[in-house]
Amino acid sequence: MSNRAPANLPASDIEDEGHERRSYVIGLVLALVLTTGAFAVVWFDLFSGAAALAALGLLAVVQAVVHLRYFLHIDLQRSHRDDLLLILFTVLILLIMVSGTIWILYDQHMRMMP
């Protein structure tokens, strides 16, 4: 479970400046597209009601993944396993906490409606 990657990994892709710079550029471009897209959904009223919420939520999740991938460089390599597992576990806890809280508070709220 240690973070050692196989030694035969090609050195080039991580020790190549062009490659690493490209990662930031791709990240920026994707993030810009996604953010602007989300903004456009609201600004131009592209969807309404629940559809808008779903679209926005989806765009946000995708953008979070883009940031993790291109700015924070999280990917599926063996050597990143610890960190990836950490993030996935965090997401699990986070979902439990957020969805549980919202569920509980809405349930109580509904029962207090006059």
Partner: protein, 709 residues
């Protein structure tokens, strides 16, 4: 002159003694007495340190140290000191409830409220937490063959933040009042409208400091276990105590955040008129309960998991058997850790959500019982066919198995929303959680002290006095808390300073008796430590392995050198040290020694703790200049530290070699003892592995007895 600018809201009437002078009563006298004890205790300590000339060693060898072993010991000392206060408060509450029929008794309602609030807060945040943290600090790096934790300075900072919180609570004995809102501090009662004084603020800041300390500890230990294991120590070769430390650390990392959020919101409500939990303007006090227990439930597993780890080590060692069902114990621990995030609602079944919500959380709660049950069977089966020695620690373990199961069963009862509606907020609940926490966590920690004390100090604890304390603690617990189940079912509510049902009296009397026995047990424990220190020559076990131990911590001298391991061990199996003893590969001289880098002492952590304490005190009393100055100072210290360069020093290979070879020579020159001689003066810390006793025992035994008599 505007005094408020300087002293904030402190007035002369804020001092506890003023209450006694202006409004004399027994209740005030007790408050003043407690305040005096705190002041005198502090003064006494200062005088003692001065007379003995211990200031310098205290500062140089302890407070500025970043060695995980010293940090661990300081945590445990803190826990014991705070335990003394909290257990006396418990006895006072018991006495009040015994004396209180129809409004009788000697404490005012307000004073009683402060007592259960400080008792609960201290026991959880400043006894149980520092106790487990100290123990994990001391033991875990030794078990994984590491020289220290990953971030030694951060470790010391965690300690000092916890210490700052504890000091703040002690200060509340003298200046002002503590909260009366219980350890959970539910608004709206703790909001500014109903608790306008400084009490809740003391609670908020003391708890916040403790919880920041714990988050950092969790982070530190998780990284240590992930990245600092010695060669060969794969995850599934780790001792079980280390496993539970890992899971507890993960819980600390994630569970403290909701508490921090809740205390920040409560503080904003109180200080700045926000509306998170207020009774109008869109506040929602039910969210507080939700946030608090998002933390609170994982918290109880933060406490119990390390104790489970202790039980696993204790039962295997004193049964001289490999732990039964290692893998199932590991997976059970993981299951518990994850599930513990999914059950928090069972603490507020009665808050008004619909039956479906209650049902789901009730079921989730019952499921947690399953992995815990697995563990109980594993411990039982470890004993089967083992060479069991009924040492103090083992007595605590057997007591734990018996009583913890009962507590677990009442827990499953409480997980039924229908039943919970009946006994919620009664003494039944108080009985239940003490039933888990005292035999489980507290006695677990006591057992750990018996078990690892010789490792930390080089001599064993006096066994007879240990047993005496056990025989007070165990029945004392039963007497003090089993009557509360009955009382709860009769309808006696918790946090209540008086009552009028004559049927309660005998049960309260029994509970008082139990509390007295617990106090006696504590007295025996203190006596045990004092006597053992006096007789340390006779109890000495410097060779490191008094119990025929199994994990790596027993392979090094007692107390261990600053660098722990002269050469990082190479592990090939579980129970690494035991296997080495069996194969005859233990105590070999390494081929070569190398220089070792150890961190230098630094004043960073104690300074941060000091300023954090001042900052919190300023916040409690609205002394804004102090708040600003100490906040700036905290960060100034951090930044200044980041500019320091020579933070490490080198221990030359020759020094390491001399120390280690001397130790090995002493071990080789000493014949081992068998398990029958464990508690005799012959036990200098060299064990004949139980499995080899038959062949080697007779010979060595005779020789060993001769050496010491």
């Amino acid at each position: 002159m505007n005094w408020e600018l300087i002293f904030g809201q402190i007035k002369w009437t804020s001092f506890v003694f003023a209450g006694m002078i202006e409004n004399p009563s027994l209740s005030e006298a007790i408050a003043s007495g407690a305040g005096s004890i705190a002041v005198l205790g502090a003064l006494g300590t200062v005088v003692l340190l001065t007379v003995k000339g211990w200031w310098v060693p205290l500062w140089r060898d302890w407070l500025t140290s970043v060695d995980h072993k010293k940090v661990g010991i300081m945590y445990i000392v803190l826990a014991l000191v705070m335990f003394a206060r909290a257990v006396i408060e418990a006895a006072l509450m018991r006495a009040q409830q015994l004396a209180a029929t129809d409004g009788g008794g000697f404490l005012s309602a307000d004073h009683f409220g402060q007592l259960f609030s400080t008792h609960g807060t201290i026991m959880i945040f400043f006894v149980a937490m520092p106790f487990i943290t100290g123990l994990m600090n001391y033991v875990m790096p030794l078990q994984i063959g590491a020289r220290d934790v990953s971030f030694p300075l951060l470790n010391a900072i965690s300690l000092m933040l916890t210490m700052a919180g504890a000091v703040l609570i002690m200060v509340s004995l003298v200046v002002g009042q503590f909260s009366t809102g219980g350890w959970s501090a539910y608004p709206p009662f703790t909001g500014i409208e109903f608790s306008p004084g400084e009490g809740v603020d003391y609670w908020i800041w003391a708890v916040s400091l403790g919880s920041i300390g714990s988050t950092l500890t969790g982070l530190n230990f998780a990284v240590t276990i992930y990245k600092k294991r010695c060669p060969g120590m794969s995850l599934f070769r780790m001792p079980l105590f280390t496993w539970t430390t890992l899971c507890t650390s993960i819980l600390m990392i994630f569970a403290m955040a909701p508490l921090t959020a809740a205390t920040i919101m409560l503080a904003l409500d109180r200080y700045a008129g926000f509306h998170f939990f207020t009774n109008g303007d869109g506040g929602n006090m039910m969210n507080y309960a939700n946030l608090f227990w998002l933390f609170g439930h994982p918290e109880v597993y933060i406490l119990i998991l390390p104790a489970f780890g202790v039980w696993s080590e204790v039962v295997a060692t004193y049964s001289s058997k490999r732990i039964y069902g290692y893998t199932s114990l590991v997976y059970a621990t993981m299951c518990i850790a994850v599930l513990s995030f999914a059950v928090w609602l069972h603490h507020f079944f009665t808050m008004g959500q619909s039956a479906n919500v209650n049902a789901i959380f009730g079921i989730a709660t019952m499921i947690i019982g399953v992995p815990t049950g697995v563990k109980v069977y594993d411990w039982l089966l470890t004993m089967v066919g083992g060479r069991i020695r009924l040492t103090t620690a083992m007595l605590f373990h057997i007591n734990f198995l018996l009583t913890f199961i009962l507590g677990g069963m009442t827990g499953v009862l409480l997980a039924n929303p229908g039943i919970d509606f009946q006994v919620h907020n009664t003494l039944f609940l108080v009985a239940h959680f003490h039933n888990m926490i005292i035999p489980g966590v507290l006695f677990g920690m006591f057992a750990a002290v018996q078990f690892w004390f010789p490792k930390a100090f080089g001599f064993r604890l006096h066994e007879g006095l240990g047993r005496a304390s056990f025989w007070c603690f165990a029945p004392g617990f039963l007497l003090a808390f089993f009557p509360l189940y009955w009382l709860g079912m009769m309808g006696a509510t918790r946090r209540t300073f008086t009552w009028s049902n004559p049927d309660y009296l005998p049960w309260f009397a029994l509970a008082m008796l139990g509390a007295a026995l617990i106090l006696a047990g504590f007295a025996f424990m203190v006596m045990q430590i004092v006597v053992s220190v006096r007789r340390r020559a006779e109890l000495a076990a410097p060779l490191g392995d008094p119990w025929d131990g199994r994990a790596l911590e027993w392979s090094i001298p007692s107390p261990p050198p600053a660098w722990n391991f002269a050469v990082l061990p190479q592990v090939t199996a579980r129970d690494a040290f035991y296997e080495a003893k069996k194969d005859g590969t233990a105590y070999r001289s390494p081929a070569a020694y190398e220089d070792i880098e150890v961190p230098r002492n630094t004043a960073t952590a104690p300074l941060i703790g000091l300023f954090a304490c001042a900052w919190a005190f300023g916040l409690v009393w609205h002394i804004w200049w102090l708040v600003i100055v100490s906040f700036v100072l905290i960060w100034a210290v951090v930044i200044a530290r980041s500019f320091a360069t020579h933070t490490e020093e080198i221990v030359p290979a020759a020094t390491v070699k001399a120390a280690n070879e001397a130790f090995l020579a002493a071990v080789r020159a000493t014949p081992g003892v068998t398990r029958d001689q464990e508690m005799t003066a012959a036990n200098r810390g060299r064990a004949i592995p139980e499995s080899l006793e038959a062949s080697a025992g007779a010979l060595a035994a005779g020789a060993a007895v001769e050496v010491t008599r």
